[in-house]
């Protein structure tokens, strides 16, 4: 789970931390990745790994349809368009019963296997997750340390000046968005192979907000931030479980602690625990 959210945080960091795009539909791409990989495995019968790769392309392609019209407009429209897209994707996953089985979800998703080796036990899956997370980390690092990443930062700092300096701002944002969607779909595939059952409730607007919260808490604009954020946001609930709170109040206490934490961070460390960039 920690790697799944780690990858989501990396995708969010590319958008929010580098490009300044507060994307509220990362969970939609996470979901599209999960569903497309699953359906390719179950309906077409291909192996997890090629299905994952196809899933990346499918998700990136779909993301173009929202990126192209909305990122050529000014900032606020993008936020609304992203929320709208998130809701539409959820509604499609929920209502296209013939394809997704809607609210019933898809059970019995096969575990990934490669060359006859099954990633079926927890430690084995942990290894696989870690490996894929590491690949994604290397990939984002290469992308973000390149002149492309530098141009994204320039857009985050000052879109207008970036444009006057010859940067095709909409094209760069669309690229960032499409790459971010592709990365989120990798998490989706890993999630599907991990829990072996998916339904639309894992890919809601709440989930998108949680992904943003990870990056806000950990900090963004560098690669440490999202990793620290993921540890914090995922380990914290586990740690709280050890307090032995009664089941009925534990979730509420957790929500309160998250809320308190966000407020404290905004007050004392607006750039996040390990970030270099603060949202304004």
């Amino acid at each position: 789970m920690i790697f799944i959210y780690g990858i989501l945080a990396l995708s969010m960091n590319l958008l929010a931390g580098y490009t300044g795009l507060l994307s509220l539909c990362q969970a939609a791409f996470y979901g599209i990745g999960a569903y497309s990989t699953t359906l390719l495995m179950i309906k077409v019968g291909i192996n997890f790994f090629p299905a994952l790769v196809c899933g990346i392309f499918i998700t990136s392609f779909i993301s173009l349809f929202i990126a192209y019209p909305s990122l050529r407009l000014r900032g606020d429209y993008f936020i609304l368009a992203a929320i709208g897209f998130q809701l539409i994707v959820f509604s499609i996953l929920y209502n296209c019963v013939w394809l997704t089985r809607g609210p019933y979800g898809i059970p019995g998703i096969p575990r990934p296997s490669a060359f006859g080796f099954q990633f079926d036990s927890l430690p084995r899956y942990f290894l696989l997750g870690g490996f894929i997370f590491f690949l994604v980390l290397l990939f984002t690092r290469a992308i973000l340390r390149s002149p492309f990443g530098r141009a994204l930062k320039a857009i985050r700092e000052d879109e207008l000046t970036a444009g006057v300096m010859g940067k095709n701002v909409p094209a760069l944002k669309i690229w960032a968005f499409v790459i971010g969607a592709g990365i989120a779909s990798v998490s989706g595939a890993l999630y599907a192979g991990y829990v072996t059952y998916i339904d639309p409730t894992s890919f809601t607007l709440d989930e998108s907000i949680f992904i943003i919260a990870i990056v806000l808490v950990g900090g963004s604009g560098n690669l440490k931030g999202p990793i620290v954020g993921t540890f914090f946001m995922l380990i914290l609930p586990e740690a709280l479980r050890f307090l032995g709170l009664p089941v009925t109040i534990a979730p509420n206490v957790r929500q309160m602690i998250y809320g308190l934490l966000l407020i404290l961070l905004m007050r004392y460390r607006p750039q996040g625990i390990a970030g270099e960039y603060r949202f304004e």
Binding site: I143, S146, K153, T161, G163, V169
Partner: protein
Amino acid sequence: MYIMKLHNVTRAFGGLRAVDEVSIEFSSGGITGLIGPNGAGKTTLFNLISGLLKLDCGEIYFDNIRVDGLTPWEIAKLGIGRLFQDVRVFKKLSVLDNVLLAKLQHPGESPLSVLFSTRRVTNAEKENLGEAHKWVKFVGLSGKENSPAESLSFGQQKLLAIARLLAGGYKLLLLDEPSAGVNPAMIKSLLELMKKIADAGRTIIFIEHNMTVVLEIANWVFFLNEGRVISFGRPDDVLGNDEVRKAYLGV
């Protein structure tokens, strides 16, 4: 030889005609001053040229290419660079990164090239790095390469913005009040810098309030008032013009 022609360029904000049927031809090379009282429409004219504002009517030609209607980045790639009145360096980025960003058509700014033609990107970036160091030195900011731009004084930020323009290789530079907010000692080196740039064959158009500066470095001057060109010519002539003196200097 004209580098840029404006024909009947007009732009209104509500009922206010900020730029009103302006027709100007800018010669290639040399330094042209754009003067006029506050609110005369000088910055608006620059915004129209660099594509940040749409024209209500009129045409702009640069190097015989029609540029009105193009996006800011298309116009920049044709060779028009811009220094903003409020400088606008990328504050959180380092001095060097600011200058590295100036390169137009960098293959490394396409993610596909980053992934699939690594060699080409690395070479372009290596060359870019050499250029950037050169321009940082040229404007006298050596030693500050790794400092964030926000740590520089306002005057130094102007120098950085100019280094960025030079690194962009633009043929035409639009400078909006380069000497404003800069201390006298630095104004001097700024003017030297502008002369050096013009001597190197680039064309400069600059907006300026300080008449001493205009008289010292401008080859030609346009006087703008209420969105219209009132006078054009050699600096002495324009500043001696009765209408200009009345509108501007209140004499």
